[in-house]
């Protein structure tokens, strides 16, 4: 249980670190990194809940949820980067 708690707390810290940087940074790329760290924090909370000691089988449901979340996160990241690139091109023109 202690392991699960350590990682769950780490997840909470990562989540709030991400929120903080999303609010405080003012350019896109750092904010995007921040949102990804935020997501990693949430995923860590999920996965630490699934962990029930080395001897018990883990709960597969949070694992599947996190896998879904990962793919959603990279889709959003790709879209944001594409928007950013177009905006950059327009600034240059």
């Amino acid at each position: 249980m202690t392991q699960a708690l350590i990682y769950a707390l780490t997840g909470a810290v990562l989540f709030m670190l991400g929120v903080r940087a999303t609010l405080l940074r003012d350019t896109l790329l750092p904010r995007l990194l921040a949102l990804n760290v935020c997501g990693a924090g949430v995923f860590l909370v999920f996965v630490s809940l699934a962990y029930r000691g080395d001897s018990m089988p883990t709960d597969p449901v949070p694992h599947a949820l996190v896998l879904t979340g990962l793919v959603v996160a990279i889709s959003a990241t790709a879209l944001a980067l594409a928007l950013n690139r177009r905006l950059r091109e327009m600034t240059d023109e």
């Binding site: 202690t2 392991q3 708690l5 350590i6 990682y7 769950a8 707390l9 780490t10 909470a12 810290v13 990562l14 709030m16 670190l17 991400g18 929120v19 903080r20 405080l24 940074r25 003012d26 350019t27 896109l28 790329l29 750092p30 990194l33 990804n36 760290v37 990693a40 995923f43 860590l44 909370v45 996965v47 809940l49 699934a50 080395d54 089988p57 709960d59 597969p60 449901v61 599947a64 949820l65 996190v66 896998l67 879904t68 990962l70 793919v71 959603v72 990279i74 889709s75 990241t77 790709a78 879209l79 980067l81 594409a82 928007l83 950013n84 690139r85 177009r86 905006l87 950059r88 091109e89």
Partner: protein, 322 residues
Amino acid sequence: MIDLNLTILPDLLLAAMLIGLAWAALSSDDLRRGVVLFIAFGLLLAIVWARLQAPDLALAEAAIGAGLSGALLLVALRDGVAGNETAGKLSRLSRWLVDLFVLIMTCLIGWVLWLTIYAEPVERLAQLANTMLDRSGVSNPVTAVLLNYRAYDTLLELVVVLTAVLGVVVVGRQRRGYRQAGPVFCGLVQWLVPLLVVTAGYLLWVGAHAPGGAFQAGATLAAAGIVLRLAGYDAAGLPDGRLLRWLLVAGTGLFLLIGLGVTLSGGAVLQYPEAWSGSLILLIESAATASIAAALVLAYRGGRPGDWSSAGDRDPNREVST
């Protein structure tokens, strides 16, 4: 309550490194440095997933979270970053308030997690998911959740990928390619690309009973495309025009058709007949792998591919007016 023994030392170390890397990546003013630290963060996270007995996630994180996100972010560094898009810097007071808010919320979330983990153990879905495994058609529980119990989530997730890549296509022009690679890199590519394709096939196949599956396979296949592009093959292995659109649609389309088709046998939507579920899942996963790989490579290439559609050929410079 906490048994302080040496076995949690590695966990503490990993947790501290995660937080430290995240902090360093987020507080760095040098963008390149931030991105590189973020990639390292992703790799460390993959180790944590392995530690928490989530090998499926470790694979996915290494391939998607660290690998492809990293590639996308690095190539975005080459594009440059648009100037400040939010209005002005925050005042010192509001920064201080944000910090206070973050501190309070961290403590609250941590406290609730503490309470939950040390409360009477909640029997979550683990037991149920594992007992129903026999009826799911696969023996890897994560694949069972993804493609059977919660297949609808996965269907919508494929739609999310499709939407995002359409956004990438709509927004801009394709990136310039790279110059032809030198002999050493070309030699590497000749080895690496077939190996990646084989690995993707293996991951797809093995997902039914061991860690792996469509997403990991798709990401590996996409990595092959990215390597090709880096070596100077501009198309990155993707077809043009109509075939590309078929490839993008394949995963969602086949999933939807199968999900609806199984109702003909009298069941609910997405209720595969038990005898067929293994093969249907593999079929869906194969199409999904192709679509995911195509979408990710397209996102890396960026912008509208050549011969995408001829709908606007008459007047190519016209933008939609607001």
